[in-house]
């Protein structure tokens, strides 16, 4: 289950909408071991693509180092799909490299409705989980 504050949920959706039709991506950092997302970090999509995303390697280094220095970890790794459903693709599954993170997928394929779903991805296995938005 992913428990996420409304403010962070809204920021993810706004980021996905703003970058459409390119895929948006980013991280929600939280205290290590807490499973609480607290800090929103939009990341640049170095691929600038409507079908692929990749964190810029220098930016990823800075963000990961900063999280480490503050005893935080990536609680959520999010990205958007701009023409397909909010479900992990084959590439999403094969590149999932943070086994402890919640993988949030947002779809902006519909102008009026945004799909927001969350998954665990470990050892190539995808498990969808419920999302609870906390006001």
């Amino acid at each position: 289950m992913l428990t996420i504050p409304r403010a962070l949920y809204d920021k993810i959706v706004a980021h996905a909408r703003a970058d459409h039709p390119d895929e948006a991506c980013g991280v929600l950092a939280g205290p290590a071991g807490s499973d609480r997302p607290e800090r929103f970090i939009a990341m640049m999509n170095a691929e600038l693509s409507p079908t692929f995303y990749r964190f810029d390697s220098a930016e990823q280094f800075r963000v990961w180092r900063e999280m480490d220095d503050h005893d935080e970890e990536p609680v959520v790794i999010y990205h958007s799909h701009t023409a397909t459903e909010a479900y992990p693709s084959r590439t999403d599954i094969s590149y999932a490299s943070e086994p402890g993170a919640h993988y949030v997928l947002v779809s902006t394929r519909d102008e009026d409705a945004t799909e927001f779903r969350s998954y665990r991805i470990a050892d190539g296995v995808v498990t969808e989980e419920p999302v609870t938005v906390v006001e």
Binding site: S49, T51, F52, Y53, F61, T91, D92, Y95, S97
Partner: protein
């Protein structure tokens, strides 16, 4: 000669859970070969069959991505820190 190597969560199965290990080598390639002695299987996660750095693995010497230095031939010196981070990537296909 001691090089500090920071290991990401997903590769800690090769280091008995350690987030940091030590190694030596005058280039990154030599360092990875050295690490393989004590952490069997780790090198294969970093270097492909053609002897190049794996595409979706980021390796940094201090705070620079080694792809902008000399890749696996990047020279190392005592006290350097090498950080490994798997790329975060994916897409709709």
């Amino acid at each position: 000669m001691a090089i500090e190597v920071r290991i990401p969560t997903i590769l800690r199965t090769y280091t008995d859970g350690a987030k940091q290990v030590e190694g030596s080598g005058s280039t990154l390639d030599e360092l990875f070969t050295d690490l393989e002695q004590r952490h069997g299987g780790l090198r294969d996660r970093l270097v492909d069959n053609g002897g190049g750095l794996r595409r979706f693995v980021n390796v940094y010497l201090n705070d620079e991505d080694v792809r902008f230095l000399s890749g696996l031939d990047t020279p190392l010196k005592d006290g350097d820190t090498v950080t490994v981070l798997p790329a975060v990537a994916g897409g709709s296909l």
